[in-house]
Amino acid sequence: MNHEEIEISVKNMNLWYADNHALKNINMDIPRRKITALIGPSGCGKTSFIRCINRMNDLIPTVRTEGEMLLNNENINHKDIDVVSLRKKVGMVFQKPNPFPSSIFENVAYGPRIHGEKNKQQLAQIVEESLKNAALWDEVRDRIDRSALSLSGGQQQRLCIARTLAVHPDIILLDEPCSALDPVSTSKIEDLMVKLKEHYTIIIVTHNMQQAARVSDYTAFFLHGELIEFDETKKLFKKPKEKSTEDYITGRFG
């Protein structure tokens, strides 16, 4: 993948939960404006890895990390990094839709507002634009002041994506975004991801191998905290180099 522009360069990344060595020596170059899927059985470290990219692991007191994660030549794993501005650049969508218990408008406006946008017209414009980009605008345009909790699960998840888009990140992390959704909502989010990769680098954790095969450009296979194989999705699924990758994608374990 020499021909790709690199967004994030991971070098010798290690992570421990207290004594549990959860990520072992990860080296990986994540390409810009592509979809990279992380697959592997539960507990293999893919969620731990994705949460390193926006330093969400900081919230867990027992976590310790080592190694480099370079974003624009800056090591975001350094303790002096400003996590607030990092998280503005690296948005995240979680496994379970977690809208704020307020209106649809407030959900999307929250991000720009905490980053200092006060102008009401400007906010309204950002909200509309973000909801359009998340393919939700047509469904909610006439009830934007209603509670976000009145939306369906799939709509809530697209609202969470819109909320992330509203702060104009470079990278969007999706941690099993469809695992709580029905197939129709899932395919809507997949279409959306493909559309969003024009402007954003997307990294998605998924348990669904078909999903990884359908939407991603690159796929990384994790097992027991190690990165076993990382390649173009087509190659990895058609001709995996490692035996364990083949076993996993053919459903022999996991």
């Binding site: 926006n54 969400m56 919230l59 007191p61 607030v84 501005s85 990092l86 998280r87 503005k88 948005g91 995240m92 979680f94 379970k96 977690n98 809208p99 704020f100 218990p101 307020s102 209106s103 929250y110 991000g111 905490i114 980053h115 209603r146 509670s147 976000a148 909790l149 009145s150 969470c160 909320r163 992330t164 702060v167």
Partner: protein, 285 residues
């Protein structure tokens, strides 16, 4: 008797024991309330609420005690709520999960169980004498604040802890700082429960007698306090005073005062419920 019958028998027995306990406590409470209402209701009047205490039963009123209690509760709220809520926010959101934090938290639980008379002794030594505040409203309010601080901290901490972690993650994930997350997401979500806990803590303060007697609140006051440094009396003290008098009429007047105290308490609890409903509606849309 086979196993199944035995099990059913035990089940029934347990249900009966629970039922009897419920009935006994309800009946006792009802008897007590009936007694108070029968004795006190005829003494209740607007004059009773608007008159100062007197040694003549027919002229005695609860004005100074009612005002004293209102002053006391407002001052206590102003002192204890900001401090208690801030302490709870610190312990729940900022403090490192260290052994020291654990020890502090356990001790706050223990403080909530300390008899109120002990707080009275502390208030007497610290506020009345140490800070030379005298037998003033502010000394009483400070003492009651100490008394209810542990309750406020515990209930607020529990309310904050019940806010789902996913909400915090959503906010942090957008680049919100810790303060922004607490201010805009965690506190509003926890607010109904924080309000309920705090109002219940204040209800406890308004019914306290022992610490106020300890700090020497007066039992016969024929004026309403004008500033926090004025001497005062409060409803529980007035009730205690009337009951200990030899004339039988004063026992009935005490019952009337108890009804007023109960009304104040019920109003506060109703306010807690209404506020909680209102906030919950707002959150769920």
């Amino acid at each position: 008797m086979n196993l199944q019958q035995k099990r059913r028998r035990k089940d029934q027995l347990f249900a009966v024991v629970c039922f009897v306990s419920t009935i006994v406590s309800i009946v006792l409470l009802a008897l007590l309330l009936c007694d108070i209402f029968i004795k006190g209701f005829s003494w209740l009047s607007w004059d009773f609420i608007c008159s100062y205490p007197s040694r003549f039963p027919e002229r005695a009123g609860i004005k100074s005690a009612l005002w004293g209690s209102i002053w006391l509760i407002l001052l206590t709220a102003a002192l204890a709520l900001p401090m208690g809520v801030s302490a709870a926010i610190y312990l729940e959101e900022y403090a490192p999960r260290s052994r020291l934090t654990k020890i502090i938290e356990i001790n706050i639980f223990n403080l909530a169980g300390v008899p109120s008379v002990v707080y009275g002794i502390l208030g007497l030594a610290l506020f009345v004498r140490g800070l030379s505040l005298g037998k003033s409203l502010i000394a009483g309010a400070l003492t009651l604040s100490l008394l209810i601080l542990p309750i406020i901290i515990i209930s607020t901490k529990e309310a904050l802890g019940a806010v789902p972690e996913s909400l915090r993650e959503a906010s942090y994930g957008l680049g919100a700082s810790r303060w922004q997350t607490i201010r805009y997401q965690v506190l509003p979500s926890a607010m109904p429960w924080i309000l309920t806990g705090n109002i219940l803590a204040l209800s406890r303060a308004i019914g306290e007698t022992a610490p106020l007697i300890m700090i020497g609140a007066l039992t016969f006051v024929a004026f309403t306090p004008q500033t926090p440094l004025d001497p005062f009396t409060a409803m529980p003290i007035q009730i205690f005073n009337w009951i200990s008098r030899p004339q039988p009429e004063f026992a009935d007047i005490a019952s009337a005062a108890i009804i007023v105290l109960l009304l104040v308490l019920l109003t506060m609890n109703a306010a807690a419920i209404i506020l909680r409903r209102k906030y919950q509606k707002k959150l769920q849309g």
